[in-house]
Point group: C2
Chain length 353, copies 2
Amino acid sequence: MAKKVRIALDAMGGDFGPPVVIPGAAISLTRHPDSEFLLFGDRAAIEPLLGAHPALKAVSRIVHTDVTVSMKDKPSQALRRGRKNSSMWLAIDAVKKGEADVAVSAGNTGALMAMARFNLRMLEGVDRPAIAAVWPTARGDSVVLDLGATIGGDAHHLIALAVMGSAMARVLFDIERPTVGLLNIGVEEVKGGDEIRKAAELLRTLNLPQFEFIGFVEGDGIGRGDADVVVTEGFSGNIALKAAEGTARQISEFLRAALNRTWRSRIGYLLARNAFKALRDKLDPSKSNGGVLLGLNGVVVKSHGGTDAEGFAYAVDVGYEMVRYDLLTKIYQTLNRDGGPLVQVPTPQEAVS
Amino acid sequence: MAKKVRIALDAMGGDFGPPVVIPGAAISLTRHPDSEFLLFGDRAAIEPLLGAHPALKAVSRIVHTDVTVSMKDKPSQALRRGRKNSSMWLAIDAVKKGEADVAVSAGNTGALMAMARFNLRMLEGVDRPAIAAVWPTARGDSVVLDLGATIGGDAHHLIALAVMGSAMARVLFDIERPTVGLLNIGVEEVKGGDEIRKAAELLRTLNLPQFEFIGFVEGDGIGRGDADVVVTEGFSGNIALKAAEGTARQISEFLRAALNRTWRSRIGYLLARNAFKALRDKLDPSKSNGGVLLGLNGVVVKSHGGTDAEGFAYAVDVGYEMVRYDLLTKIYQTLNRDGGPLVQVPTPQEAVS
């Protein structure tokens, strides 16, 4: 049997901490019985919960700490207060020390990014981190990045994103050569800023075996599934994600209110409830929970802070797959083929301060 | 009675031309009987359609031209081929010459922007154009800009957008002092690029009487109606708009398929059909059609190219209101108060080439 996947959990992260993290890990373990866990956090809070999940308990070890990064801490505060001793830091540090293969946290994004970067350092050939996630589309799922780690960036930064995102799509979707598109405000070659047109030109010239560059994708092309991987800098990626999430929420609230307005529509709702359940499942954020921090010497997965156990389990699943199918090696080999880095990424401005 | 509102129509613009433009104008005229029209385009195509709308015919004059800007023309081609003689140019030129108060076209956006800018020139105090439109939200409607006219821009550009967008909100929503937010990837002060934080600081300091600056708005805040006016540069504005449109389309297609799957859900659909009709109306793009080109010495409205007569009528309505409630004066007075321009806008890069 293959080596176990060792998962470090920030048990205190997120809006709820252990009551979500522990049952979440237990759910993921049923799907991936070859996982084992290091649980960082308050032993008094973790231990009783673990008692309810004997299978998880059997493959877990608790590492106690009193220090927790708050959801409100700025990255600089988190580093000052929680470096070396917080549950978040220790989970990341386990990856750094080789005691775990991946760290998963529902804690605050800025702090997680800052700590991961500070401790794990950037991968050779990448200068700035990115957050990637799975976006449900009409055709299945796509990987979209960067969702807000780094604002702006030049053509080489966009190419590094394409390399990392396509490696993630190969791991998650089991596609040999995923399609990659650059997010733009039009599909014509004249559209967009210089850095986007330059990146398109370079990607066409490089014509890498690991993915197929298909050109520009517009905002409505993400959900249509125009490409397996959609690449953009972190500002517009974050705006796109939240605009889409906001629209989905707005529509389901409107529909709920409209269906409740008359007795006829309430009966109609009851008869068609399977259809609505399917829609709810489709829109359920816990079904696509788990942003992957890319560009680091190690795998770190960020879960939504407000998610439930099912959602946290999904984030753990993502972490598991990244390790099992060797994300880092896939990225590294593409970035540093032919004995040298593929791209030199100069320094764009960062979102996290 | 007040002066009539004189509307110049590019009768050949859009995917369909006169068969949409003429009935669209007729619908708008029933709502605003104090309009009159100049119709630019092929007399042989326009005249028979006008025969079916005697009320419109009574207040319209056809100005014949053979030349039409194609939906595929690049802005530079359109200017080369259609300057001085195309239906699009002539409609804009009527505004320039004072023969019309507003021009409405469903023709190609890049060409319309280039011609409008070339002919009308920029308003004093504004260096780059913007496109603004109405975004339906949970709280009512908001104005969002820039939707793709100008990529990037510094703090002063964002402030000019805030001034223009708030003037549009005052005209359309009849609010004395609309709220204005800057689109950002977080609501904390440390988030976003330099230009956004600088703009926020300036807007707070200026504290203009014409609008209330409320700080940053995230992508999901647009649809929640967090601000009456949401300001961003053209790249992320365009991405946000299309990501939201794409999500809405994706959800309604999914729901249609799910409701069709079983006889129970089909009956449910029939019983609840008023609820679905309400949702369809809410999502109907023709109900919020009409992007306003801002920053020019004149009012130009862009209709979606693929819209129907009802949608085109909505774009004409928008043009009517901009004139009737004096958009340009409102913008000009805010920009050039105290005898000098409020902001000096240096030159960001442009989307239209």
